[in-house]
Amino acid sequence: MENRKRIAVLMGPPALFLLFLFVLPLAIMAVFTFRAGSFGAQREVFTLDNYREFLANPSYLRLLWRSTGIAFIVSALSVALAYPLAYFIAFRVGSRKVILLTILVIPAWTSYLLRILAWRLILGSNGVLNSILLALGLIDEATPILLYSMTAVTITLTYVWIPFVALPIFASLERINRSVLEAAADLGCAPWQAFLRITLPLSMPGVLGGFFFAFIPTLGEYVTPLLVGGAKGVMYGNLIQDQFLRGLNWPLGSIMSLAMLLVALVLMALFVRVVRVSDLVEG
């Protein structure tokens, strides 16, 4: 009984928080998908027209798939770049771990917007990258193609996520018992074989965690596309934002949001299934 009380006390506040600020709004949004309009009398009319509209316009779903693809590429790139970083800090730096981890996280202390705007300075027509390419004689005139494109969005978001992806990978690498790696060497594994057979599988929980740390916010991302994406770099998040703020079509916006949520959940379930995280975690 004592124990149950303690759990209630500990779990209560976060549970209430989630209930009122997450579950309830989602439920409201779900109800909104059936309303005929955002305001007045139309609010009280319930219909399936919004769903028909959503499905009738193929560009909505096309953008959702495209954004899913971008989120996938960004997350995969982040993992690919963050893994060596995490590996280096976990295995190769000894007592300087804390310093390097701090350096890794420091950029995250500055404003997210500032960091994205900084990329405009790097990628823009008069930006650092163009200047260097010009100075090296690799290009004849400044090219704006780097900015205002999907590439720019991908580069910027990958940069933003790397520290967040590196941390869970680092944590899972830290948890690996070093004698297990010695055992692998003892049983005939060259270092690269030991990495593939032991280190990588044992760090999969961190890799997956990091991947979804990047994947889920990227899927709904709308600020970065707005600032560095231009017309070619529009993402599904911008579409949703438009429905709510400019189009004032809350029912359609709600459907779009829930569709995105569905995609994220299905992908996550699939991934977890395939890699069988539970097996790894149970150890």
Partner: protein, 377 residues
Amino acid sequence: MTTKPTLNGLPAVELRNVYKTYPAGRSEHEVAAVNGVNLSLLSGEFFTLLGPSGCGKTTSLRMIAGFETPTAGEVFIQGQPMSHVPPYRRPVNTVFQNYALFPHLTIEKNVAFGLTVQKVPKAEQQRRVREALELVRLPTVGQRKPTQLSGGQQQRVALARALINRPAVLLLDEPLGALDYKLRQAMQLELKALQHEVGITFVYVTHDQEEALTMSDRIAVMSAGKVLQIGTPIEIYERPNCRFVANFIGETNFLDGRVTRTNGNRCTVQVADGLEVSGSNYSAAAVGDQVTVSIRPEKIRIHESRPEPQPNLFEVAVDRVAYIGSDTQLFMTMPYGAKVRVYDQNELSTVDENYFYAAGDQAWISWRPENALVLKD
């Protein structure tokens, strides 16, 4: 597979003048974990490195495995120098102290790991995994994960995982350390039988003297990075060559004194004014040398009343009596103040009501000169 271990032939492992020093941390001096060790292990023997923690036994083992590189000297395995051979190319396998099983693989895949890396055909792998698991008497756990097994079972899996590769030498780093006492005793006998069966050279690291005495063909006693004595369990226990070995293996009494006469292997040591002890001298102590005489507590006889005159007979006072079932430990004081501990086997404790001594009793003790070892340091 089932040949008896032969104690002749080429050395399976040899350490020649091996040093391992670690760079100084905050202290001024560098730390010597292994300080000039020479060892030569015969093929097929059960060889134990025995010593207290920090004596360099594990570091020595890790240099044979290849996890540590000697600062100086050379490790040979089957006559081949190992300095440029990484762990994964050495013909040895290790049973780790904490077993180090792969947590993400089933028992079967753990055991097969070495064969998988060597790309042994699947069918042969399966056959050998089955054999290896039968050898360690765990034929049914193949599909489970390491965490689903008890400590003792994990220990056997670690053994199977190493032995399946048929290494020239098996290295065992305190493999029984994490098991409870009864299980440890059972595993000691099992390990010895297993070693006999597979005929592989075992190098066994432990700080537990009982374990070492029970299983080993030969023991190297180590302290502070050096090997103090190498010998069979009987040699190590019955004829320790120094104070440390005598004290570390089993229990003993030390009487300090100076040599007054020598005669072949016999010598007389004056331990106090007018009080002389006669003992066996295997350490070439000469007249005038400061020495320690070591007498094991079970090799001292007790007399209730003054017996016939004989060598090494002393009147003592009983200070304390501790009954421990199989025998009684008596703590006594010699006439000149030295303390002596005696183990008296409880042979007649059920026959004689007045069998036990009590504190304050007077008694006489004696021992054979053969049982009093004169040690130089």
